[in-house]
């Protein structure tokens, strides 16, 4: 019996070697096994971070084959994400495994709010490792954090030091006492990032050198109080509980005044608060501030929401704002050398000094109120004295509303020499040219594209009923296919009745405006007409005014489908 044991060992060893030999060629044939280990490590390192399945991923990777297992066990970072406290969380055994394999790396612990008594063991085990925790997430989006959970966490944090804690995330915690109990003792001086969703800010924030603060669903006033105590804050992300229209005016100036290192603000709010942000922007110009303003979920508030972004980068600031279709919005160009801003909704660059933009592109889409009651156009244009070129696109908007904006732009952008205008925005321009002979005094190049001139008549409704009637008529005409086809080849009389432009086509406005400028010694040197429904006779009249060589016309009268009109009353 004694001599049989070594023989069995030898046989076992031989069997193992034979098995290894049999398996080896198969493994070599596998293409993934022919890639260097360094690449495999790179692949494994892309484990799902900040997800409850992170540890499961690591465990699965380590069970694929011997090589993967060896590599996974070498990679301590692969075992640093632990999720506990819910059905999806890791079991006590896996938590133990991860804690063991990740030593001595700092770890991330997610404690879900939907825990029951059955999840207590892994939670408590994870909490015993608080000195190693770098990121701690408490609660989740599934519901309010459970009282037992909060008690356990608060107890652990009160008794355990957290020297490595850099980031704290709190979700859906309704118990204000919990925040008060957090870190009753010492708070990590490495704590830089705090994310708070649907709960109040814990008092510890004033004792930590926070640089990043992300607050969702919090009262503006509460936030203001806290901001005064965070002089090291560099990045602020904020979604208020209320729309910012009702927020106190201090929100505008306080962050800038009391947060000298603040560089970036991301605010999610409603578009109706935009006036306040414009003012905020004025403060921001001098403090090297990046501001990004976003508004999500258009379905919630169809008349006010939008996604809009402002990005201000020091003296160069590009502003993107307004519009109903957030997917059409464009973030800015930051190219200092060739700053041409383009967007589907108003893009207003803001800056000063040598980095001033030379061109702006304004595009107005359905739903945008282009009257100055938004407060956005006027304050921003004052920053743009060097703009010499405007490109404007408007669709689905009320034409006469553009008149005021062209007037405003002319007074604020006196150097503009070139305008490209597309769609109904041209109607306002035609009216403005007619109404003000000194409009854009340096304007020498005018390009008009895809504009319905001939049959669209300025009737300037004065009352709500007029407006509604006007657009009902427009739509019914459009539906019957009459739009875009001049009813008569006859060119309208140029003499405008003194009782104002009622019943005058926008082409007449344009023609009269060109004549007036010519007479006033401010001729537009070149006019290009493309894709418009003008006739050869109409173009001939323009050529009579400006000279034959000064007018380009593509001869295209078919504009294609007309955009649907939009009314916001």
């Amino acid at each position: 019996m004694d001599s049989a044991a070594p023989t069995d060992d030898v046989d076992g060893e031989k069997r193992r070697r034979v098995k290894d030999f049999e398996l080896q060629p198969i493994a070599i044939r596998s293409p993934i096994n022919r890639v260097p280990n360094e690449i495999l490590r790179e692949i494994f390192s892309n484990f799902p971070s900040f997800e409850t399945c992170a540890l499961e991923y690591s465990i699965n990777v380590s069970q694929v084959c011997r090589l993967w297992r060896a590599l996974a066990l070498e990679m301590k970072d692969l075992w640093t994400e632990i999720a506990v406290g819910s059905q999806m969380g890791n079991s006590a055994r896996h938590v133990e495994l991860a804690l063991e394999r990740s030593v001595p790396r700092p770890i991330t612990v997610h404690i879900a709010s939907s825990w029951t008594g059955g999840h207590r063991t892994p939670v408590l085990r994870a909490l015993r490792e608080l000195p190693r925790v770098r990121v701690l997430c408490i609660g989740d989006g599934e519901g309010l954090a459970h009282g037992d959970l909060l008690d356990s966490v608060a107890q652990a944090l009160r008794t355990c030091h957290t020297p490595r804690l850099e980031e704290l995330r709190l979700y859906n915690i309704a118990d204000d006492l919990f925040q008060d109990r957090l870190f009753a003792g010492q708070v990590s001086q490495k704590l830089r990032v705090l994310t708070v969703v649907a709960c109040s800010l814990p008092p510890i924030v004033v004792r930590a050198p926070l640089t990043h603060l992300d607050v969702t669903l919090m009262d503006v006033g509460d936030l203001l109080e806290i901001l005064r105590c965070l002089p090291s804050l560099e990045h602020l992300s904020f979604t208020p509980t209320l729309d910012l229209e009702s927020s106190p005016a201090e929100f505008i100036s306080r962050p800038v005044a009391s947060l000298p290192r603040l560089r970036d603000i991301s605010v999610t709010g409603f578009v109706k608060s935009i006036t306040q942000f414009v003012q905020f922007l004025e403060f921001a110009v001098d403090v090297d501030l990046d501001l990004q303003l976003l508004c999500e979920d258009p379905s919630e508030s169809p008349h006010y929401y939008s996604q809009f972004s402002w990005i201000c980068n020091g003296r160069l600031s590009n502003v993107i704002a307004l519009g109903l279709y957030y997917q059409d919005l464009y973030i800015s160009s930051r190219d200092e050398e060739d700053l041409t801003l383009k967007a589907h909704n108003p893009v207003l660059p803001l800056g000063e000094g040598p980095r001033l933009p030379q061109e702006i592109s304004l595009s107005f889409i359905e739903g945008h109120r282009f009257s100055d009651d938004t407060g956005i156009i006027t304050p921003l244009l004052s920053f743009l004295p060097a703009v010499h070129s405007i490109r404007t696109l408007a669709t689905n908007s009320i034409p006469y509303r553009f008149l005021r904006e062209w007037e405003s732009m002319s007074s604020r952008l006196p150097e503009v020499a070139s305008i490209i205008v597309l769609g109904p925005a041209a109607h306002g321009l035609a009216m403005a040219l007619n109404a003000h002979e000194g409009l854009f005094p340096h304007l020498t190049v005018l390009s008009i594209e895809n504009v319905a001139f001939a049959d669209l008549v300025d009737e300037r409704p004065r009352t709500l009923a007029d407006i509604q009637r006007s657009f009902r008529d427009w739509e019914s005409e459009s539906d019957s296919g009459r739009m875009g086809k001049p009813e008569s080849e006859a060119v309208p009389e140029l003499e405008i009745p003194s009782e104002m432009e009622k019943g005058v086509s926008f082409f007449e406005h344009l023609l009269k405006g060109l004549r007036t400028r010519e007479a006033a010694g401010l001729p537009i040197g070149r006019v290009s007409i493309r894709g418009c429904d003008v006739t050869a006779d109409m173009v001939a009249q323009v050529r009579t005014v400006l000279g034959a060589d000064c007018v380009e016309w593509d001869g295209q009268e078919d504009m294609g489908p007309r955009p649907r009109m939009w009314v916001d009353i």
Binding site: R34, F47, R93
Partner: protein, 173 residues
């Protein structure tokens, strides 16, 4: 180590605004490419420095097919002149960054091709491409079971039945 062979001036087009390199793939295809394009490859850059020392022109023989090499050149051409943090030898290693949109489309290839590209990128020391490929491969196995991972990437299970069922491997990971 790559094989470097001397070539005649007639083999490599003359110097213009950007110098030209001759890359020779494992299937003996000669591909001429501007040095600027391949400057993202630290391997190529080091080779070129060596050329300058000898003032001789060389071809660089590479151990992968022209098909793969062309893909890598396409990637380098797309990002020509772009600064990518991952490829900056002086920059601190970047954290995780989202996959660039163009890369996603570029790497929408089958598994074997993806593995060939990542190997080539690794050989040429193009870290940004290695990173993008690695993320693409990781995405393929994310949320998958062990068996699915094996199936997706063609990995053979070389655990013995004993190892597979031992508490130290299977049950506890």
């Amino acid at each position: 180590m790559p094989t470097i062979v001397s070539v005649d001036d007639s083999t490599v087009p003359g110097e213009g605004s950007s110098r030209l390199l001759l890359l020779v793939s494992s299937d003996n295809k000669h591909i001429v490419v501007e040095e600027d394009i391949m400057s993202r490859s630290r391997f190529i850059s080091k080779q070129v420095e060596g050329f300058e020392a000898t003032s001789q022109r060389h071809a660089i023989l590479l151990p992968f097919s022209s098909f793969v090499l062309n893909k890598v050149i396409e990637y380098c051409s797309h990002y020509r002149g772009y600064y990518l943090l991952e490829d900056d030898p002086d920059a601190a290693p970047p954290g995780r960054s989202p996959v660039r949109e163009w890369d996603q489309e570029f790497l929408d290839v089958d598994r074997n091709m993806l593995l060939r590209i990542i190997k080539a990128a690794h050989y040429l020391e193009i870290k940004s491409l290695v990173g993008s490929c690695a993320r693409a491969i990781a995405d393929m196995i994310r949320g998958k079971t062990t068996e699915e991972m094996r199936e997706i990437l063609g990995v053979e299970n070389d655990f013995t039945p004993e190892e597979e069922h031992s508490p130290s491997s299977k049950c506890t990971g």
